[in-house]
């Protein structure tokens, strides 16, 4: 079928857009049998979209498919579901575990592919009443674990396993599929200890010797250099580098990852607030936010500055504001203007004039089925008794509809919210305008301190600029301290005074926003866990 020169996988001119938003343009990739390819890039660079296309994930088809060709062993293929991709010999280990917690490793490795024995009842009622062949299952699981080259207890229940072993169970599951030719590992070492990560690298090498090609996605660049044959770096939906691993260095890769031509982003005037009072002092904060665990964060925020918090996804940057504002369980101490803020109690935070614009604007941020007036005024009404008229000496409180309308209309003007009027429902607005309503809501609280989490996520370029400008104005005009959390480094650099980079649930470093991108890039990957 395929001669020695045909690559195992070839991706030609892959293009993908989400509703007109181009996320991949002209991606070309080739991969030979037994080759290990390291794929890296910042969040949003398009790595996972590319892998979703290759793996035939439903979300791609639902959003209008993709352009370009995928060739497996020289033959053009089109995967409609992950099952097609599996049948063609592609296996994928996702970042999130896909394991049944109460099953043993063996049961998970062979999930829905269990060897079966026929019996009388199944002859009558169909194959699903075949009994499982436990001996055969053990044998196959053992074979897969051997192939992986890292020993795990095949009889241990997943929920009792250390995290690293769960990861290896996933890999063994893919290896137990006989047709497997290409394995995609999406940040497999993120949850591993150093020792386990080394074992994984050894296991990748042994797979490659057995002729299995591997696509290895990781933020730990030295691992890529240690195990990969070639490195592909993506940025903004483009392949910016495709080189042999032996010809490059960690510094070079991180430069490729974050480097942009400087003229595309407007530079902010970076103010040096050295010597300003400390507005908030965070000490030894931990937050249990699933997927964004904060381990040990200590951070001082100065009065009147805009502090950016950046870092790769899953490293804990989102956990910081969510933990302080009491949305997820947290511990440690937070001192705001000389007073300790009790954790795990959102009301206390609001009473202390802190405000938070959540990254989850549809879930936490907005009352989707209520009018803009309600959305803007509700927190201020609840927390500060604003927009209320008092009767009978405060016994009866009525809403001051006029004041509410005035303030809403003011923000609609100021933030250029596109809507039919202040009575429109929040659900009917576009993403960018919803985000502006979230900001208006926080502004209406007239806070002394504002957390803004991913304010530009999922909104278009024009709206982005407006949102950032509104934040900057709010900070400059009212002197409010702003902490902005964002995955986009360039966005942070364009508005912030200082930027703290979170890595592995800790602060990896704080630098003035005027420092070169590469330095931040190095910080991002420095303590990745």
């Amino acid at each position: 079928m395929a001669n020695a020169n045909t690559p195992l996988l070839e991706m030609r001119n892959i293009k993908k857009d989400f509703f007109g938003n181009q996320v991949l343009s002209d991606i070309n990739l080739t991969l030979r049998e037994g080759e290990v390819l390291g794929l890296c890039g910042e969040n949003g660079a398009g790595k996972s979209t590319l892998m979703k296309i290759l793996f035939g994930m439903d979300v791609i088809r639902e959003t209008g498919g993709y352009e370009g060709d995928i060739l497996i062993s020289g033959e053009k293929v089109k995967f409609n579901t992950p099952f097609d991709a599996l049948a063609a010999g592609i296996g994928m280990v996702h970042q999130e575990f896909s394991l049944i917690p109460g099953f043993t490793a063996t049961e998970n490795i062979l999930l829905n592919r269990e060897p079966k024995k026929k019996n009388v009842i199944s002859e009558v009622f169909g194959d699903r009443l075949n009994t499982l062949d436990y001996n055969e299952m053990t044998g196959r699981a053992e074979a897969a674990i051997d192939k992986m080259g890292f020993s795990i207890d095949k009889n241990m229940v997943i929920s009792e396993m250390p995290v690293g072993h769960k990861q290896f169970t996933e890999i063994a599951r893919e290896l137990s599929k006989e047709q497997l030719k290409l394995l995609i590992l999406d940040e497999p070492t993120a949850v591993l200890t150093e020792k386990e990560a080394e074992a994984l690298l050894a296991s990748i090498r042994s797979m490659s010797k057995q002729g299995i090609a591997v696509i290895f996605i990781t933020h730990r660049l030295h691992e890529i250099l240690a195990v990969c044959d070639k490195v592909v770096v993506m940025r903004d939906g483009l392949v910016v580098a495709d080189v042999a691993a032996k010809d490059t260095t960690v510094e070079e890769i991180s430069k490729w990852m974050v480097g942009r031509s400087v003229d595309t982003t407007a530079k902010a005037e970076v103010r040096d607030n050295e010597g300003a009072k400390i507005a908030m002092s965070i000490k030894r904060l931990w937050v249990d936010m699933p997927g964004e665990t904060v381990r040990d964060v200590s951070l001082d925020i100065r009065e009147g500055e805009i502090l950016g918090i950046g870092g790769l996804a899953g490293q804990g940057k989102l956990g910081i504001p969510n933990g302080i504002m009491g949305l997820y369980e947290a511990g440690g101490t937070v001192i705001f203007q000389g007073q300790e803020i009790p954790l795990n109690s959102p009301r206390k935070c609001l009473d202390a004039s802190l405000a938070f614009v959540s990254e989850d604007r549809r879930g936490v941020g907005l009352l989707l089925d209520e009018t803009l007036e309600w959305n803007v005024a509700f927190p201020a009404m609840q927390v500060q008794n604003k927009f209320l008229k008092n009767y009978l000496g405060g016994l009866v409180k009525w809403r001051d509809e006029k004041a509410i309308r005035e303030v809403t209309e003011r923000y609609i003007d100021e933030l250029a919210i596109k809507c039919t009027g202040s009575k429109q429902k929040a659900r009917e607005l576009s993403g960018g305008n919803q985000q502006k309503v979230c900001l208006a809501k926080a502004f209406a609280l007239e806070p002394k301190f504002l957390f803004v989490s991913e304010p530009t996520r999922g909104i278009d370029v024009g709206a982005k600029a407006l949102v950032l400008e509104a934040l900057r104005r709010f900070n400059r005009d009212s002197g409010v301290t702003v902490v902005m959390i964002s995955s986009e480094l360039e966005e942070l650099r364009s508005i912030c005074d200082r930027i703290a980079i979170v890595s592995g649930g800790k602060i990896a470093g704080i630098r003035p926003a005027s420092d070169p991108s590469e330095d931040f890039g190095m910080l991002m990957v420095s303590m990745v866990k």
Partner: protein
């Protein structure tokens, strides 16, 4: 250190089995007060085991597939009653009557079960309350069928079960001619205690079936679906279908269970037999130490013994203490609801406790990092 561990284990064991321990305590207090003799008590308990265990076993399969405590079993109970009404109208008595009723109940149960499963698939994660309300709704349909359609559209010949007005079924349908026919066949008396051997054999076969079923592909799929629907779906298991099959199986078994239950009672209370059966079965299962996502055959047996011992002795004990026999009846219903509430609260707190454990681990990790420095 070792002692400390042992102590923790004991505390853990007590915490995990709060409900059964509470009931053992209640029974231990009430038995001497009630003044019942031991043979009488054992006789009563054995009878009730034969009567109830099959019904409760029907609850195990939906729990396995993660659908919680399924009040939808009431639908199966209705199917069983409808089948029995037909059989008694046709005057087929004894064992043939029971067997025919069971066969007749299957299509009705399958239909109702499939309907219930479809609806529960739309209400994933809220199966308990949905099935509870659904059983009320189906009760209305059942009453329509029994009160107006039977005898008018569906021919009912026998006057003893028909209402005098010409259509509809009487309040009570007597099953005197098949009363305890299963229980009496092969029955053995041991020291004054009647043991319904055949009923127990049927229960034993069902237990074996459940054990065997866990080892089949379908059983494995159900367990997978029960623990994580997303993962099961990614592995190619048809989650919706598996859940429907699980509810259908439970409904069919509940239909059989209801027939066994009613042949023991000897009559059908047409409009009320099924109404509280779901609640009593679930309460008994919970008393046996089961939780919303975990139940075993052992829980069923322990639950029936404890719950029904309480049922037998509490009214008498109540009457002895207060001189009012009503207090016991009140006590039964009160305790059933209390047990279900308690079990649900404990299930939630356990989940929450697990969550705060992660926080403790993070704190611990900080301390360990300090120690290293």
């Amino acid at each position: 250190m070792k002692n400390d561990n042992f102590g923790k284990k004991v505390v853990g064991l007590i915490r995990d089995n709060t409900v059964p321990l509470m009931f053992i305590l209640i029974c231990a207090v009430c038995i001497p007060i009630s003044g019942f003799s031991l043979p009488y008590l054992i006789n009563e308990i054995v009878t009730r085991m034969g009567r109830n265990i099959f019904l409760i076993l029907a609850l195990l399969i939906p729990i396995m597939s993660g659908m919680g405590l399924n009040f939808g079993m009431t639908l199966g109970a209705m199917a069983g009653e409808i089948a029995l009404i037909f059989v008694s109208d046709w005057q087929i008595w004894g064992i043939p009557g029971v067997v025919l009723a069971m066969i007749l109940s299957i299509p009705i149960s399958v239909l109702l079960g499939a309907f219930c499963g479809k609806i529960l698939n739309m209400a994933k994660g809220r199966e308990m309350i949905t099935s509870y309300i659904l059983s009320f709704f189906m009760n209305g349909i059942y009453q329509l069928l029994v009160l107006y359609i039977m005898g008018s559209l569906i021919p009912i010949k026998h006057f003893s079960i028909k209402l005098p007005r010409g259509y509809g079924i009487r309040n009570t349908v007597s099953l005197l001619n098949m009363r305890q026919c299963l229980d009496n066949l092969l029955a053995v008396r041991v020291g004054g205690v009647k043991i319904p051997v055949l009923t127990f054999i049927i229960i034993g076969v069902l237990c074996l079936f459940i054990v065997w079923f866990r080892r089949t592909k379908l059983g494995q799929d159900m367990r997978a679906v029960g623990q994580d629907m997303g993962v099961a779906r990614d592995a190619g298991i048809n989650v919706e279908r598996t859940r429907i099959i699980s509810i259908v199986m439970s409904t069919v078994l509940a239909g059989f269970g209801m027939i066994i239950y009613l042949q023991n009672m000897g009559n059908i209370a047409t409009y009320s037999s099924h109404s509280q059966i779901g609640m009593f079965c679930i309460a008994a299962l919970l008393v046996g130490g089961a939780s919303v996502d975990r139940a075993s055959i052992g829980n069923v047996f322990l639950g029936v013994v404890l719950f029904h011992t309480m049922f037998i002795v509490a009214p008498k004990a109540g009457a002895v203490i207060t001189g009012d026999s009503m207090i016991g009846e009140y006590f039964r219903v009160f305790v059933s609801y209390a047990v279900i509430t308690l079990a649900l609260i404990m299930y939630e707190t356990k989940k929450r406790k697990h969550k705060s454990l992660v926080g403790q681990q993070l704190q611990q990790a900080q301390k360990e990092a300090d120690a290293h420095e």
